[in-house]
Symmetry: C2
Subunit: 693 residues, 2 copies
Amino acid sequence: MSTEGTATSATPRLAKNTPSHPLAPLSTSEITSASAVIKASWPAHTDLHFKVITLEEPPKSEVLRYLDAEHNKKPVPSISRKAFINYYIRNTNKFHEAIVDLSSGRVLHNVLLGAFVHANGDGDEIVAIEKAALEDDGVKAEIAKLQLPEGSVVISDPWIYGADGVGDEERLYQCFLYLRDPVNSAEVDSNHYALPLPISPVISTTDMKVIRIDLMPTGADNTIKPVEPYKVQPPNEYLPEYQTLRTDIKPLNVVQPEGASFQVTREGTSSTLSWQKWKFRVGFNQREGMVLYDVRYDDRSLFYRLSLSDMNIPYADPRHPFHKKSAFDLGDAGAGTMANNLKLGCDCLGSIYYLDGVISDDKGGAVPMENVICVHEQDGGIGWKHTNYRTGRAAVVRSRQLVLQSIITVSNYEYILAFVFNQAGEIEYEIRATGILSTQPIDEGIEVPFGTIVHPGVLAVHHQHIFSLRVDPMLDGGDNRLAYDEAFPMPRSDFNPHGTGYYVQETVVEQSGGYDTEYANNRTFKIQNANVRNPINGKPVAYKIQAPPFQKILSDKDSFNYKRAEFSDHNIYVVSYRDGELYAGGKYTNQSRGGTGVRSWADRKDNVLDTDFVVFIQAGINHIPRIEDFPVMPCEILKIHMKPVNFFDKNPALDVPPSEQGFNKSVLVSEQHRQPSVEATIGQDGSCCTPKL
Amino acid sequence: MSTEGTATSATPRLAKNTPSHPLAPLSTSEITSASAVIKASWPAHTDLHFKVITLEEPPKSEVLRYLDAEHNKKPVPSISRKAFINYYIRNTNKFHEAIVDLSSGRVLHNVLLGAFVHANGDGDEIVAIEKAALEDDGVKAEIAKLQLPEGSVVISDPWIYGADGVGDEERLYQCFLYLRDPVNSAEVDSNHYALPLPISPVISTTDMKVIRIDLMPTGADNTIKPVEPYKVQPPNEYLPEYQTLRTDIKPLNVVQPEGASFQVTREGTSSTLSWQKWKFRVGFNQREGMVLYDVRYDDRSLFYRLSLSDMNIPYADPRHPFHKKSAFDLGDAGAGTMANNLKLGCDCLGSIYYLDGVISDDKGGAVPMENVICVHEQDGGIGWKHTNYRTGRAAVVRSRQLVLQSIITVSNYEYILAFVFNQAGEIEYEIRATGILSTQPIDEGIEVPFGTIVHPGVLAVHHQHIFSLRVDPMLDGGDNRLAYDEAFPMPRSDFNPHGTGYYVQETVVEQSGGYDTEYANNRTFKIQNANVRNPINGKPVAYKIQAPPFQKILSDKDSFNYKRAEFSDHNIYVVSYRDGELYAGGKYTNQSRGGTGVRSWADRKDNVLDTDFVVFIQAGINHIPRIEDFPVMPCEILKIHMKPVNFFDKNPALDVPPSEQGFNKSVLVSEQHRQPSVEATIGQDGSCCTPKL
């Protein structure tokens, strides 16, 4: 790395000196100021391709002082606002990382990054890559060999190139080509994934040229055949106008006659939410999307920061070029960039509040992102109940939940990501995987053990989704510890004469590393504060982690897949806290080679006992496609829970008012209920899910 | 066993010959007829204590012929109605099992059961046991030693006796004693579990006498001290009137302006439900509570019968008398017997339909059980979504669910049990554990590794909840098979040069037995019909099973706990079908000794390939109590899923109408939303959760 352009040159259009919260995302003016500062550090007319302009979060030590003052209603210290910037000299491989002080306009850091460090994709770039692939004469010549019907439209899906160490020093994209239903070529929303083509151009982003055209193996082995005339199969559309829709589903409305129970306080680009003793700050950035800061319950601190840190999706087909399909959707693209504009009545039910975001574009401008997070309450069923069988008196409360939901579209796939809070002091992170399977062509009559045929001629290859949730704890203050409980049978003895006894043993984690759940031992990880004891039972206050089992990465330990996905091999990673260590797969995941993520940090073998540490919780799906997952997949749901353990002195939901008909207003359905069914209507005036075009 | 009283004697008051469905639960008149037949088989004035009078389900082969005719709208065969009966000669240990043909009034079977076979408890009996314990002079003398405050009320909780082979031939109950808050002794719903006493009378149900008074160890070892003056600790109430309730939770109503989307057809004691291509029959019985029969989707058969088969709750404290705490709540008491009368607006939200049940009482009469199952729809969040990033068009549907919920109160604990159906052809069985921990006294300053102190002087001992869901499959007809998929890394080769490939391998289960999930291999069990192939990809139609991991029973293999809980040691049991093999822990679990449940059936090593078999799916919680679980426990939720795998030819929810504001009527919450909070009100006129007294 070489430092260059650490300019103290003239600083144009500084952001107005508004007293932003130190954790507030960059504002529109801050983004444009930052890019202006960087542009000014280069000779005039240097064309910069900005990749990221985002808040450089201040050192945690500074923020903690700020938060302490804030919570104690004392004067807050001044913390300088900084922008983190990634950019290229456009149409070159010169990829830079910079930090700009927004108050002074000083460039604090501005370096050309070394070989094998590549930026994420951006929207304009993806569209340009699509186009470059389809306009290439060589690609056209290959497509011609398919002898597609008159008027056929070919669609190009750019994919991150992955990395295998073979000719991948350049920043490349692998395009997968598909055919729009030729019988209905005017349908711009046709599901082209039902008609995959065996041709895959590779594009270099330096000059946007096709450097190679890969042909795909379409049999059971890795033989590559020359392109042959394409057999057009029937379409398989997911759009409602191509279905015979059900007509017997009646409306279900969530009505809150007195409004929602939460309060939102907006301060510039930052918002704080208060709901049922919970209070936290919400941020939004290009990479992680939704981020929560300073999460508190009943004025006690719980977490400094919560976010989805990373995800990796390696595919099972080992044949070139498919073996490189291993996406890091956050680092290679960005959960913020890909966040859906959520629509009232489509993506959430009830009384909805929307939060907006601001991210940067490739010119260094600001892009307002509207409705990227929806906030609403939902009923979570019964929260607790007990009936005294002697008197018949039932005490029952419903569990109300607060949901912060964001939805991202990653080309074919969708992820619905939500933090869910309840009245029992519990936080849940819910992931719903939906969208369309990434498909490839397969010859008729072939079966392979690494994929499922989901449509004639269409193979959906097995793949893993491995998610990493970053949890930066602050349970009743700093200096927490990670421990785990396990249950073991007691040996037979005079104390245990019938062989029925068992006991729980706690193990404290002292060193950074990757740790696994042993389901056979009921191993349960807990974040504790050993300095704060439960007033009744003297146990350290704690939150336990409940995450579903998942199969660890299947790529072997010498593979690039394994080396790059540094979080994919353990249920839990714990590392000592260092500013800037946010992304479990490393800061730059696109065509990465490993060595910069959480496995590497854990290898420091730091002390993590009674100090500041961070936990990365992994969860995942080994998605063996079913035909039911096509042409669009019913949500597969994963939940990670964090629940108090001896943190309170009794059930924190004990003070929830009882569940009563006067409040809930349920309705008795009459016997033999047979109302006329209601016709479902599509795309009426005022409807929300019709095309934007 | 000796056969006796197989009377062909006069058959009084026969049930009217109404053409009941063969799977319909016994009606009121059928129950009373059955008991009358049995009474008539004995000399006049013989006092019988009935335990169970329930439908003896006809042989499956007969029912299948009936269902086949029913679905094909052909004349149905006549199937005789039979009652299964358990009874004692009152105040003796003579426990009988009988079957009565209800049409003819013939006693088909009537046997005295052998030693070590004991009946479940019943409501009247439990109240009598409570009373017997408290009225015993020896018990009174021990209580006197506690020197309780004037006006103290002692409560007796009868517990099943468990079995350890030591002096437990007789049918016994172990009573645990508690103190009602002496400062508030008039509060009949006071949480006595906060004030446990160290005295435990044991009652024989033959003569309702105390046979022994156990004193409890209250330290860290198994020393038993003489009863000392009791230190009264503060109360810990769960009732709302003892809390300072939250005032900032606003109403959330589920409104279905056009009514519910399901239809219920009642035929006598049986109901069929139709909803969104689903159709099934609902039964209800004393032991299992809610049972589903003949579950079909879009006119294709899926399951012959679904029910919670059994549950076992062994406790971790190995010391006498606690080592015997190992309850089988279904077999020892009955999910039907203990079913809550559900209240509108308290237990479910929205448009609710209630189903009733009928069970028998100890005199052989019928007990109507109102509102034991609530049926309602709920919103399950987004069902599927895809946005075309090129056009911005989003297609999204919400997942509507149909819920059949039943709640049971087992003394201190509650279970909320629900079958949940969705529009993607999926069934979920949800278990919520709530209610009050079973507590015992502990000396001050003591910690033990087998329990948690949840209140001063109160120990909540670790315990396992192990559930067994019985699934009798009929996927596209009979002759199904069980198989499992596992994913393995491919070895490096020319085919897999980068070490990234993996494959799925299917193993077919040929023999009955206990099988386990290997999370490291993503082992996934599937029920298949190999005779019916998916029209697109040729795979056998299948449903997969997704169940959460759980720690298997911790009691050792030589223990009575292990021998009795025959389902507790494997994730999956599969056995060849035999009529009457319904309960995984065996037909008679109270003080059972093993050898009569699913482990024993599996030991037949029968063929289960392409034949009629039954799967028992286990799930569980190793409940290490937190102080947050007291004085009443926030729901802990377990879900077992069954999802189609290559059963349909595409996503079965593709035809769900799109999610639109015109249908959903969501509301935008205005910024800075700060409405006045609403006061929660308790026990208003018309409210549902106030005392019945």
